[in-house]
Symmetry: C2
Subunit: 241 residues, 2 copies
């Protein structure tokens, strides 16, 4: 089956979590909105009545007759189909629990530059962004990454290398992406924070070196981080000193 991924074409954003799972799985997929006319098609489909399970927002995935939206939900599906999550119920729920914690972190990461509204530009909410980001870098990143550090540490089977069991699962890929985005957005803060969570930092580097992921990262399929667009941004004045 050839999947169709629908996500905004100009930045990594939440679509990147889906791309990483598809790439690690070696799955065949089309990144629809990056093709000519694809973005219009994505919007038309989302607003129309053809999809019986319509998305609230991208990303969404077509998998045969299924149309699946919400990043974590797409990963729940792909994880089960492509061996990127444990097969047993407890393991599957644990993977999803970790993914939903990552989703919460990404929500806050997004709010560092849009704390007031997605309907305003970042420049119209800079004072609030400064306040939000100060707390985010000081308290929230350490709290979230500390949580994942403990998960890595307590997973004996993974020897500190995997969040779950002895294999790569979709939360590993998602944590890689999130650390990459945090390093891009908040390099000063992250230099300090990563000292306290060496396993999280090492997981990032190890996932980046996996054969399919490293080939993907080198390819044109991987969009670059963009300082002033999308979910994962960088404004120097929001970073720690």
């Amino acid at each position: 089956m050839r999947y169709e991924l629908y996500y905004w074409p100009s930045s990594q954003g939440r679509g990147e979590y889906v791309r990483l799972a598809l790439e690690e799985a070696g799955a065949e997929y089309v990144d629809v909105a990056r093709r000519r006319g694809g973005e219009d098609r994505m919007i038309r489909l989302m607003e129309g009545r053809a999809i019986k399970t319509p998305p609230f927002a991208p990303p969404y995935l077509r998998a045969g007759n299924l149309w699946i939206a919400q990043t974590a939900n797409i990963l729940l599906y792909l994880g089960g189909r492509h061996g990127l999550a444990p097969r047993d119920e407890g393991g599957r729920l644990w993977a999803h629990q970790l993914q939903l914690a990552i989703a919460d972190l990404v929500h806050e990461l997004h709010n560092t530059h849009h704390p007031i509204s997605v309907n305003l530009n970042h420049v119209d909410q800079i004072p609030e962004s400064r306040r939000f980001a100060a707390d985010f870098t000081r308290h929230r990143i350490p709290k979230f990454l500390g949580y994942f550090e403990r998960a890595l540490q307590s997973n004996r089977a993974g020897r500190g290398e995997h969040l779950i069991g002895a294999r790569t699962s979709y939360p590993d890929l998602s944590l890689f992406q999130t650390v990459a985005a945090l390093r891009f957005g908040f390099p000063n803060a992250m230099r300090r924070i990563e000292r306290e969570c060496p396993r999280v930092a090492a997981l990032h580097d190890r996932v980046a070196g996996r054969p399919r992921i490293s080939a993907y990262l080198e390819s044109e399929r991987r969009l670059p981080f963009i300082a002033d667009a999308g979910v994962f941004r960088h404004y120097g004045y929001l970073d720690a000193k």
Copy 2:
């Protein structure tokens, strides 16, 4: 099996989504933190090493040997076990997709009173709350509830009465709770908005009248809404005029 629910004892909050599913299912459960010493136990368990799949935050649920956290993840589990979600893969994913959209709405609802940080009191972020809430009531509630209205409308089998198929599923219960919370928090805004989404409003009232739910709502197990505490608050100055 007797479930153990762990959530902050003094307000409905996100724990309420789990309670509603347990109540509709007629499941036996203990609301641990509302018992003597239970809140300490909840915090100790969360911070300790006894749970191999530790929660990032409440709510979390013990189901035999499983410890499950993240509201939507708990409902994914309970929905499957208690007939509160379709059995087929597409239906299960659709239910979860709707639940995750509700989770996004609840995240924003929370941010109306805490737009800058959970580490500050509401009174220390009032100007930002006013700005956030103005956009939330004007644009975001209508966008989210409009989405659920269309889902109700396009579900022929549910005759506008159910989000999915012809039966009550956990997203119905969660939408009920969210509408109740929005009515409590933003009565003026909701009076206007509900005119545009009559099916959502009717679903709220119908869920409230289901035998087990209505018995629950009358019982002492249902905590009241509290204006100045928890996720679901009411500050008159944040509501529409």
